[in-house]
C-alpha cells in the first residue's frame, strides 16, 4: 500500500513534468537577427522592438495555432559574417528554425542562397529590389530569391516613386531647365541597392544625373559632401543611409547653405531623426510603409497599442514608424505560419505557399495600419504603392518626441501617393 502510493505519486509527478515539458519541446523555433549596436542601429532598435513585441504578444495569446514560438533574438551588429555564422547555427541541428526575421541588405542578400537551399522563409528589414525576384528571371541578372519576403515598397520602387513626385514638384515650383539629381550614401549594399534603378528613371524623367556622393553609415562631418552638392547645384538628393548619418548630412547642408530637396529612403527619416536634426529635417520627404503614424487614427491601432505594452507596460511610449513596420512584418509571418500549420504543416514550402494565398492582404487586427500587400509566386514586390511623407519640423525640438508630436512641432505629412507600375523589366532590380 505504502509503496504503491509512492509509485503513484512518482508516476503522477513525472507525468506532470513531461506534460509541462512537452509543449516547450514543440515550440516553433524562429530566428531573429537585429542590429542593436551596428551602423544601422538607430532604426534597427525600434524595428527589432516592434518584431519582438509582436512575437511576444502573439505568444501571450497562445502562439501559432496554439503552439508558442521560441524566438531567438541576436544582435549581429550589422556585420554580415556574424549574421551568416549565426544563421548556420540556427539552420543546423534538430531545432532548425522555421522562419527568419532578418534585417540588413548585406546579410539578407548573402543569406538568399542559404535560405533558398534550406527552404527557410526570411522576412527582412532590407527592401532591396534584388530580393523581389523569386525565380531569378528578372532581366537585370538578379539571382533567384524564392524564400525572401519583406513588407514595404522595394528601395528601388520607393525611389522611383519619389523621383516621379520630384519631377512633378519641379514643374509645380516653376523650376527652369533640367533638375539635377544626385544619389548619396555609403559604399555599402544597402544604399547601393537602388542606385542604378534610381539613376535610370531619373534620366527618363528628364533629370540631369550628377555623380553619386559618398558618406559613411556613421554620423560624422559631411560638410565636404554638402559643398559638393552646393557647387554642383543639385536640386534633388537621395539619402541612401539610415537616419543617423542622414541627420549629419542634413545639418551640414543647412550650415553650408546647400538648398537641396532631400529624399530619404524608408529608413532615412522618422520622428526621432526629425527631433535630432531639428529644423534641418524640415521638408525632407521619405516613403512610409504604414498608413498612419503612432498618433494616427485607425482600427488597427488598438492592437498596435496592445502590442506596444509588451515592452512598455504603462502604454505611454511613442513608437516611431519603424516600430510599426516591424509589427506588420511579424504579423504577415504569423498569418503565413498559421495557414501553413493548417495546410500541411510548418515547412518552408508551405509557409512560402501561405504568402501567396491572399490578395491585398492586411493582417487581421491591423486594418488601416499595414498597407495591403500581395505576393505571388513570380513576383515578391509585395507593395508598389509609395506613400510619400514630408517631415515638418517647427521651432525648438528640445522636448521629448512624444510631446513634440503632440504639440505639432514634429509632423509627418502625406504629400503624395505614387503608384509605381509593376513593370516586368524592373523585377529584381
Amino acid at each position: 500500500m505504502h509503496t504503491g502510493s509512492l509509485k503513484t505519486a512518482l508516476f503522477a509527478t513525472s507525468a506532470l513534468l513531461l506534460g509541462a515539458a512537452a509543449p516547450a519541446l514543440a515550440d516553433i523555433p524562429i530566428g531573429h537577427l537585429a542590429d542593436q549596436s551596428g551602423g544601422t542601429s538607430d532604426v534597427g532598435v525600434p524595428y527589432a522592438q516592434g518584431v519582438s513585441d509582436a512575437l511576444a504578444y502573439i505568444n501571450s495569446k497562445g502562439g501559432i495555432n496554439g503552439t508558442k514560438m521560441a524566438v531567438d533574438s541576436v544582435d549581429y551588429g550589422y556585420q554580415a559574417p556574424r549574421a551568416i555564422s549565426q544563421y548556420k547555427k540556427w539552420s543546423s541541428g534538430s531545432d532548425k528554425i522555421v522562419a527568419l526575421q532578418g534585417w540588413g541588405t548585406a546579410d539578407t542578400e548573402a543569406l538568399t542562397a542559404f535560405v533558398g537551399k534550406d527552404e527557410i522563409p526570411a522576412y527582412s528589414g532590407s527592401y532591396s529590389g534584388h530580393l523581389t525576384d523569386p525565380t531569378g528571371k528578372g532581366p537585370h541578372g538578379s539571382k533567384p530569391a524564392p524564400y525572401n519576403f519583406f513588407y514595404g515598397p522595394s528601395y528601388s520602387d520607393a525611389l522611383r516613386g519619389m523621383l516621379t513626385w520630384a519631377a512633378d514638384d519641379w514643374k509645380k515650383k516653376g523650376g527652369q531647365g533640367k533638375p539635377k539629381y544626385v544619389h548619396m550614401g555609403a559604399n555599402h549594399p544597402f544604399p547601393n541597392a537602388p542606385k542604378e534603378a534610381g539613376e535610370q528613371i531619373a534620366k527618363e524623367l528628364g533629370f540631369e544625373v550628377l555623380p553619386a556622393v559618398q558618406f559613411a553609415l556613421t554620423p560624422g562631418d559631411y560638410s565636404a559632401q554638402c559643398l559638393t552638392l552646393k557647387e554642383a547645384g543639385a536640386n534633388y538628393a537621395y539619402l541612401g543611409n539610415t537616419a543617423g548619418s542622414g541627420i549629419s548630412v542634413l545639418k551640414a547642408c543647412q550650415t553650408v547653405g546647400a538648398k537641396v530637396q532631400f529624399m530619404g529612403n524608408v529608413w532615412g527619416m522618422d520622428e526621432n531623426a526629425a527631433k535630432a536634426a531639428g529644423s534641418a529635417a524640415d521638408g525632407v520627404v521619405f516613403p512610409m510603409r504604414t498608413a498612419v503614424t503612432w498618433t494616427g487614427d485607425a482600427p488597427g491601432m488598438t492592437l498596435m497599442k496592445d502590442i506596444s505594452k509588451m515592452s512598455d507596460a504603462a502604454g505611454t511610449a511613442y513608437r516611431p514608424v519603424h516600430y510599426m513596420a516591424g509589427v506588420c512584418t511579424a504579423y504577415y509571418m504569423k498569418e503565413a505560419l498559421e495557414w501553413a500549420g493548417k495546410n500541411g504543416g510548418l515547412t518552408g514550402p508551405n509557409i512560402r505557399k501561405a504568402m501567396y494565398q491572399k490578395k491585398d492582404w492586411v493582417p487581421a487586427g491591423l486594418e488601416g495600419v499595414c498597407i495591403p500587400s500581395t505576393w505571388t509566386e513570380t513576383d515578391h514586390r509585395g507593395m508598389t504603392q509609395v506613400n510619400i511623407y514630408r517631415a515638418s519640423v517647427k521651432a525648438d525640438t528640445g522636448a521629448s518626441v512624444d510631446e513634440l508630436v503632440k504639440n505639432g512641432s514634429i509632423k509627418l505629412e502625406k504629400v503624395a501617393t505614387e503608384d509605381v507600375p509593376r513593370k516586368p523589366e524592373w523585377l529584381g532590380w
Binding site: 554580415a80 559574417p81 551568416i84 555564422s85 548585406a106 548573402a110 555599402h188
Partner: protein, 357 residues
C-alpha cells in the same frame, strides 16, 4: 633556472640533429601525438558550439603563426595581417567561383597568391624598421581593404561573395563536424612546416636578423632577402588561414578584415609568446576563448544581487568587453613573456617538485 627544458643529467647531445630536435624527450613527442589523437575524437562527443570554437582556433592559429614568424622570429612588425588573411579568403573564393578551381586546390593556391601580395608589400621592409615599417604595413592594410571594397570582379564589392564548401570526391565538408578535420589537418601540417622552417638554415637566418641585424649582415646574411621573405611566408600562412575561414563560413565580406582584426592577431602572438610556435597556438586559443568565458561570466552575473546592486541591466554586455581589455592588460603586466613561458615554468615546477629551488 626554471625556463630551460630539463633533461636527465649525463644525457648530452652529441649531434646538431639532436640539438634541433622538435621534441626534446620521448614523452613530449608522445604527448603531442596523443593530443592530436584526442582532437581527432572531438567531433564524436563535442557539441557544435565547442567545435566552432576549435575550428576558429585552428584557422586563426595558422594565420597567427605567420605573423609570429614575421614579428616574433624575424623582428619585423606588421599591423596589416588581417588584410592578407582577407586576401586569402577572397582569392580562394574567387579561384573557385570564377575559374572553377576545386576548393581543395584553391586553398593552397590562395596561399600562393597571398604570398605574392605579401612580397609586394614586404618590399618597404627591406628599407624600413620599427615604427616606420609599422606605418608602411598600415598602408597595406588600408590599400587592401579599399581594394576589397571596390574590386567587384574579385571580391563582389561591398556585397561580399559566396564561397562554396570544400568537396572532395563528392563528399562535402559543409558541417562543423566534418570541417573540423579539414582545419585540424591543415593546422598540423602548417605547424609542422613552421617548426621545421625554424630548424633550417633560413630559419636561423631569420632569427639572426631579429637578434642583431648588423651582425647578421656581417656574417653574410642578405637582410633584404630575408626580411622580404619573412613577409612572404607570413602572408602565405595568413592566406591559408583566410581561405580556410572562407570555406568554413561560405561567405566572405570586406567588413571583417579591419585593422582591429590585425591588432587582434598581434594580441594573440604577444599573449602567446613572441618567437614561440606553441605559444602562438596558446595565444590564439586564449583570444578566442576569453570572450566566450567572459560571456558566460556575464551571464552568471546577470540577474543576481550584484547585477541589481550595481544597476547594470543591459550594460552587462559592455562589462564583457571591458573585462576582456582588463584581462589582456593584466596579462601583459604579469606575464610579459607570454603563455609559452608560463607553460614551461609549470612543467619545470612539476618536474623538480618538491625541490624547485
Amino acid at each position: 633556472m626554471a625556463n630551460v627544458s630539463i633533461i636527465p643529467s649525463g644525457d648530452f647531445k652529441t649531434s646538431y640533429a639532436s640539438d634541433t630536435t622538435i621534441f626534446p624527450t620521448k614523452t613530449s613527442r608522445n604527448f603531442a601525438i596523443l593530443g592530436v589523437l584526442l582532437l581527432l575524437a572531438c567531433p564524436a562527443f563535442m557539441d557544435r558550439y565547442w567545435l566552432s570554437l576549435l575550428i576558429q582556433i585552428g584557422y586563426l592559429g595558422i594565420a597567427a603563426l605567420g605573423l609570429n614568424i614575421l614579428v616574433g622570429f624575424t623582428g619585423q612588425i606588421s599591423i596589416g595581417h588581417s588584410a592578407f588573411f582577407g586576401f586569402g579568403a577572397f582569392a580562394s573564393a574567387w579561384l573557385n567561383n570564377r575559374w572553377g578551381v576545386p576548393v581543395a586546390l584553391a586553398i593552397p593556391l590562395a596561399g600562393v597568391l597571398t604570398t605574392g601580395v605579401g612580397l609586394i608589400f614586404g618590399v618597404p621592409a627591406a628599407r624600413l624598421k620599427g615604427l616606420y615599417l609599422a606605418i608602411a604595413t598600415l598602408a597595406a592594410q588600408y590599400i587592401l581593404q579599399d581594394f576589397f571594397g571596390r574590386a567587384d570582379w574579385f571580391t563582389g564589392g561591398t556585397a561580399g561573395t559566396i564561397a562554396e564548401p570544400l568537396t572532395v570526391f563528392g563528399f562535402a565538408f559543409d558541417t562543423d563536424e566534418r570541417y573540423f578535420y579539414v582545419v585540424l589537418v591543415a593546422m598540423v601540417v602548417m605547424y609542422i612546416l613552421g617548426t621545421n622552417l625554424m630548424r633550417t638554415r633560413d630559419g636561423r637566418a631569420l632569427v639572426a636578423v631579429r637578434d642583431h641585424y648588423l651582425s647578421a649582415e656581417i656574417m653574410g646574411i642578405n637582410l633584404t632577402k630575408y626580411r622580404t621573405m619573412s613577409f612572404g611566408i607570413s602572408a602565405f600562412y595568413a592566406g591559408i588561414g583566410g581561405a580556410l575561414y572562407a570555406h568554413y563560413l561560405q561567405f566572405v565580406s570586406v567588413e571583417n578584415f579591419t585593422i582591429l582584426f590585425s591588432i587582434q592577431f598581434l594580441g594573440m602572438i604577444i599573449i602567446g609568446g613572441l618567437g614561440s610556435i606553441m605559444g602562438t597556438l596558446m595565444g590564439t586559443a586564449f583570444m578566442v576563448l576569453l570572450p566566450e568565458l567572459m560571456q558566460a561570466a556575464t551571464k552568471l552575473v546577470s540577474g543576481t544581487a550584484i547585477d541589481t546592486a550595481l544597476n547594470l541591466r543591459e550594460n552587462i554586455a559592455f562589462l564583457r568587453e571591458m573585462s576582456i581589455g582588463l584581462v589582456i592588460i593584466l596579462f601583459l603586466v604579469f606575464e610579459p613573456d607570454g603563455l609559452a613561458h608560463r607553460w614551461k615554468q609549470i612543467k619545470a615546477y612539476w618536474k623538480l617538485y618538491p625541490f624547485s629551488h
